[in-house]
Amino acid sequence: MSKGIIDRFEGDYAVVEIEGVMKPIRRTDIPGDAREGDVLTCVKNRWQVDHVATAKLKLEVRELAEEVWE
């Protein structure tokens, strides 16, 4: 099963980090409300936003950021 994290949007593409590698994916192939940093999971060959995983990851990154920011 594929999993990805949206790094950014470039024109008609979302750039998604899949197994550590950035892949351009057509915006039309991911949910319209997806945002930078969202975790995507592949369910029945369709990308969906995993809101629970996204929130969990966001919290982890914030904690790490607070630790390393002056």
Binding site: R8, I25, G37, K58, V61, V68, W69
Partner: protein
């Protein structure tokens, strides 16, 4: 004629192979482009700014007349070793300042390798995070090296001796798009000036304009790889550069640089250098004259 059509079909298939539709089968990664190193030169009394060819992404090395080194971005994840090799080839074995302009992988991807491999004195990033492994790796490297990140924002001075260097963006604390958090650097040395804009888009450009800061610069690192989201007409008019550098990879799937950006620059009579065509581009100045060399 038939052959040409065949070649064209092969090229199209090649380009399409980079795109992923659906999600079951991720396509293979692109090979890291090779950087052609310009030969090392004397830096005493000279400011050297290297726009390093890292394919689709940014990586800029600033070597000051006083012998300090500042690195602004480090390309994609795959470019870590390319960065280290380039820095070492230029005699750079420590960095006084590292700037991650904003948390997108084509800017900060290679930073973790740089931070883990070379001594770094200080690091600046805008107060913005991303959830990618690429970004988390940078924070982890910072933590492991016992460093602390200083916030990059408008008005913060960069401590480089013998020249004026400071952040002029981000002007505000929050944005919807990570590109607009881009740390924008303005560097003055004698009568020469550089504006390094990261991926700042029109929204941030408008804020720089209304902040009243002097924008006129000799050299503009064009925002966001020449995308039409950046280089708004008013901003370009205010910067009024002689030279523009666009940092991007060949055959990128985003059609960078966008035609309207090139048209604007050409209409304004700006001399354009592109890392996809010119390779690594190095500007050397004593504060008066400018020398430009390119890797290919």
């Amino acid at each position: 004629m038939k052959n040409n059509k065949f070649c064209f079909a092969i090229i199209i298939m090649f380009i399409l192979s980079f795109l992923v539709s659906g999600c079951a089968n991720p396509a293979s990664n692109r090979a890291a482009p090779e950087v052609q190193n310009p030969s090392p030169a004397e830096t005493a009394g000279l400011l050297k700014i290297h726009f390093i060819d890292v394919g689709q992404g940014d990586a800029i090395l600033v070597q000051t007349p006083a012998g300090q080194n500042m690195l602004v971005d480090a390309g994609e994840n795959s470019q870590g070793d390319v960065m280290i090799n380039y820095l070492l080839s230029q005699g750079v074995n420590r960095l006084d300042i590292v700037v991650g302009t904003h948390p997108h992988s084509d800017h900060i991807g290679g930073l973790d390798t740089v931070i883990n491999r070379l001594p770094v004195k200080s690091i600046y990033m805008p107060k913005a995070t991303n959830n990618t492994e690429s970004f988390r790796d940078v924070l982890t490297a910072v933590k492991n090296q016992g460093l602390k990140i200083s916030t990059a924002k408008a008005g913060v001075d960069l401590p480089l001796d013998g020249l004026n260097c400071r952040f002029i963006a981000p002007v505000k604390d929050t944005y919807e798009k990570l590109n607009n958090y881009s740390a924008v650097i303005r560097l003055d040395y004698g009568s020469q000036s550089f504006l390094l804009t990261g991926d700042a888009e029109a929204e941030s450009e408008a804020q720089m304009l209304s902040s009243g800061i002097a924008l006129k610069s000799t050299i503009l690192k064009v925002g966001h790889h020449g995308s039409s989201t950046s280089t708004s007409t008013k901003f370009l008019k205010a910067v009024a550069p002689q030279y523009a550098i666009i940092m991007l990879g060949r055959d990128n799937p985003y059609n960078h640089p966008h035609a309207q950006t090139l048209t604007k620059l050409n209409k304004a009579g700006v001399k354009i250098y592109r890392t996809d065509q010119n390779g690594t581009i190095v500007f050397t100045t004593d504060g008066k004259d400018m020398q430009i060399s390119q890797g290919r």
